[in-house]
């Protein structure tokens, strides 16, 4: 497990770039989450809703974004996770996930989190408060 205790303000966690969004990604998420809104999986339904094509579930992107913190669950947990969905994610978009330390003390680390597409546009923006278990961290 990685250690968080070396982080300081403005540091970033190792960023992750996802493989291009595929239909199967969204079908899998629909199945796993129970969100079968057809605008995420069926072209005709997305077009009927006035979209150029199917879009990812916002929660799929939010779920992906949380994995930046998964290596650190031995040191603490995500106490607060807040996001705003700012842009749609389409098929074949390439999403990059990033977290930057905003504030840090012995109990918690506040991160700014963002998911951007291949054009650098923010699709999700938010904050994570990571509460630390205190044992010499």
């Amino acid at each position: 497990m990685k250690q968080l205790n070396v982080l300081k303000n403005s540091d970033t966690l190792e960023k992750i770039t996802l493989a291009p969004v595929s239909r199967i990604d969204l079908i899998k998420y629909a199945d796993a989450s129970g969100d079968f809104n057809p605008i995420h999986t069926i072209d005709e339904e997305a077009e009927k809703a006035g979209l150029p094509g199917i879009i990812a579930h916002g929660m799929w992107t939010m779920g992906n974004l949380s994995k930046l913190f998964t290596p650190y669950y031995e040191d603490g947990f995500i106490q607060d996770y807040k996001v705003r969905f700012r842009g749609m994610v389409f098929l074949n978009d390439v999403i990059t996930l990033q977290a930057t330390v905003e504030e840090i003390n012995e109990r918690r680390i506040d991160f700014k989190v963002v998911a951007t597409n291949q054009d650098g546009k923010e699709v999700i923006k938010g904050n994570v408060l990571f509460a630390k278990y205190n044992d010499g961290c």
């Binding site: 796993a32 969100d35 809104n37 939010m62 779920g63 949380s66 998964t70 106490q79 278990y133």
Partner: protein, 145 residues
């Protein structure tokens, strides 16, 4: 229309953090980490058990809020928040309910704020969530007033 429903809660529904569902969920968000999936890693962890990813409460049943009828199509998910007192543990039972916490109008659009609650049998809060749903003017015109 929604005004009188503010503060109304659904009945609590018993949910289980099922191992199979957590695995499927973790895989679907591209995060099949052993902390969620591997039983031995779970046992050796600070939690003594596998945990679920923070957005897993999406799968829970929160019951029906009587009287609340949102359009089935055209809703926009604007914001989502989770607050945890600790991570969800695999195998535990969580009692969930939802609540319409606010409702307001801005630039012709409706903003509906739904809260979710997850508790233990002893009514200790494990997590709360907040979802802001945006209903655009076009979709709104199709709604019953």
């Amino acid at each position: 229309m929604l005004q009188e429903l503010i503060g109304k809660r659904s009945n609590k529904v018993k949910n289980q953090v099922e191992r199979g569902m957590v695995k499927k969920f973790a895989e679907a968000i591209g995060d099949p980490n052993p902390i969620f999936i591997d039983e031995d890693i779970g046992k050796q962890s600070v939690y003594g058990q596998n945990i679920a990813p923070p957005t897993f409460p999406r799968v829970f049943d929160y019951g029906e809020l009587t009287g609340l009828e949102l359009p089935k199509k055209g809703l926009i998910h604007g914001e989502q928040n989770y607050h945890y007192s600790r991570p969800l543990l695999i195998g535990e039972t969580v009692y969930c309910y939802t609540e319409l916490s606010d409702y307001y109008e801005k630039k012709g659009m409706l903003f509906v704020v739904m809260k979710g609650h997850g508790e233990t049998l002893e009514e200790e809060t494990i997590f709360t969530s907040e979802q802001i749903i945006i209903i655009t003017e076009t979709v709104r015109k199709g709604m019953k007033s």
